[in-house]
């Protein structure tokens, strides 16, 4: 007698969602929009994080040797640099090599072909062991007599960190605000589902329905709304992301910004949307029908 009547709950849940189609449509659309707004900020934060990591992964910086040093004298400084604790390896690049690299990087090399190597400085390419101590290591290298200038991506990295932090905070606020909004939407949809059925619910209670039995169809309806929104949101998010990706690729000729492919994000995104949809759907319906179950 106490078996779980799964078919009945599913049927009633679908019936409920279908019987007030417009509200179902509105609830799914609004909640999906919330998810997309939320998702956009989260994806932005993830992309910033990704770029930041890429930037940090280049655990290499350049230390330029003073102009007055010859290549031989410059190379001698290597011993001092190698003695610094966090330096994993170093390599001296002569003026000639630097020029060759430079010309190689520029597409129209005829412009620089007859540039004298002497306009460039000799330099060390230095790799560190621990990227987090990079600022320390840089100042130690700078202290070496004969080192004129350091070139590291540190400033860019700092800018990125700030941007990333701001985005994460906005994303979190958005998640909270929009979860609350979605919750009210679902709650209203379920309220509509129960309106006009108070009599029916009272009859169910009168003939001895358990609260669980009365509750389940509405919970199923909440779940349907939540999952429906999650699916719609994933599709829309995919479209938005593709458009943005194209825009970024068009405007940044230099591939400075590295965008994560949507395929790599779709699974965690779906899990995220799905669980938020489920939780909001279930809680929204549970809390809404609580007042009908007091009889």
């Amino acid at each position: 007698m106490r078996r779980f009547n799964f078919g009945y709950y599913i049927k009633e849940g679908f019936h409920g969602a279908g019987s007030h189609g417009f509200m179902t449509f509105a609830a799914i659309t609004i909640m999906a929009s919330c998810l997309v707004i939320m998702g956009s900020f989260v994806l932005l934060a993830m992309n910033l994080e990704h770029n930041l990591n890429a930037l940090m992964a280049e655990n290499e910086f350049l230390a330029y040797v003073d102009d007055s040093y010859t290549d031989e004298e410059g190379a001698q400084l290597g011993a001092q640099i190698g003695a610094i604790e966090n330096v994993a390896s170093y390599r001296y690049i002569t003026r000639e090599e630097a020029l060759a690299d430079y010309v190689g990087e520029v597409e129209d090399d005829s412009l620089y072909a007859d540039l004298p190597a002497s306009v460039l400085r000799g330099r060390f390419s230095i790799q560190v062991t621990d990227i987090s101590q990079l600022p320390d290591t840089i100042s130690q290298v700078r202290a070496v007599e004969g080192i004129a200038k350091i070139s590291a991506a540190l400033d860019v990295a700092n800018g990125f960190v700030t941007l990333r932090n701001v985005t994460v905070v906005i994303a979190l606020i958005m998640v909270v605000v929009l979860v609350v909004v979605s919750f009210f939407i679902i709650s209203n949809a379920i309220k509509l589902a129960t309106s006009g059925r108070e009599g029916e619910i009272a009859i169910m209670k009168m003939v001895g329905a358990t609260n669980a039995f009365v509750r389940w169809p509405f919970v199923v309806e909440g779940i349907l709304l939540g999952l429906g929104s999650a699916i719609l949101a994933t599709l829309v998010q995919w479209g938005v992301y593709q458009l943005l990706m194209q825009a970024v690729n068009v405007y940044s000729h230099v591939q400075l910004i590295n965008i994560i492919h949507f395929e790599d994000l779709v699974l965690p995104l779906m899990v995220c949307f799905g669980s938020i949809g489920l939780i909001v759907g279930v809680l929204g319906s549970l809390i809404t029908i609580r007042k009908f179950l007091r009889v």
Partner: protein
């Protein structure tokens, strides 16, 4: 068996003393009329039996359930031992007669096989086999009340409790309905009927419990409805 033991009920919302000191015992298989003027506390007694309201003090036993100790989770199982009928029928309008009965059985988790067997039997008992596929608004008030009785009966309760079941019916329909309740009682279901209708009560020679202002004023076998004498 339904037993009231010095039951007092005060409604918290407006501090109405609905029941002062009510005691009686209804044995299995009895047919009892509960009578009394408006506001005397009849519906309150019904609501206490169905655990829709909780008593303020005293003790109530309904079958195996001690309502003083009854946990909320157990209330549905108490209600499955009771069939409840109201003056206003309370049928689901968008379900057929059969659908209403089926719904009541599904709610308590009856298997399909039992539902298929039980519904024709109960419809036959209340004389509505022909109307099984009608909607409530397609049948008369008397017939609707018989559907409500069929629904109360369909889960095979020990007791049927009816709160003014004839309140919306003309005298002839009322008499027929009371005969039906008597027939069901003779098949073994305990019957507690709240009513205002003096002639009907006096016609049937059953036990009558009279209450007034929250107190039992008389309790007699083969009783008459006669609260003017009080």
């Amino acid at each position: 068996m339904i037993q009231f033991n010095h039951v007092k009920k005060i409604y918290e919302s407006n501090l109405t003393h609905a029941l002062h000191d009510i005691s009686f015992v209804i044995e299995d298989g009895e047919f009892v009329f509960l009578v009394g003027p408006s506001g005397s506390g009849k519906s309150t007694i019904i609501k206490l039996i169905t655990a829709e309201e909780r008593m303020t003090s005293g003790g109530i036993l309904v079958g195996d359930y001690d309502l003083a100790k009854l946990r909320k989770r157990k209330v549905p199982y108490l209600r499955r031992t009771l069939g409840i009928v109201f003056q206003d029928f309370r049928l689901i309008e968008n379900r057929t007669v059969r659908g209403n009965l089926e719904f009541a059985m599904r709610v308590v988790g009856s298997p399909n096989k039992v539902i298929k067997e039980r519904i024709p039997y109960v419809l036959d008992l209340v004389g509505l086999s022909e109307k099984a596929d009608c909607y409530p608004n397609e049948i008369s008030g008397g017939e609707q009340q018989r559907v409500a009785i069929a629904r109360a009966l369909v889960n095979n309760p020990k007791t049927i409790i009816a709160d003014e079941p004839t309140g919306n019916l003309d005298p002839e329909r009322s008499y027929e309905l009371m005969c039906l309740l008597e027939k069901i009682n003779q098949l073994g279901t305990t019957m507690l009927v709240v009513t205002h209708e003096r002639d009907l009560v006096n016609c049937f020679n059953k036990r009558v419990i009279s209450i007034d202002k929250g107190l039992v004023t008389s309790d007699m076998e083969n009783g008459l409805y006669d609260y003017e004498t009080i």
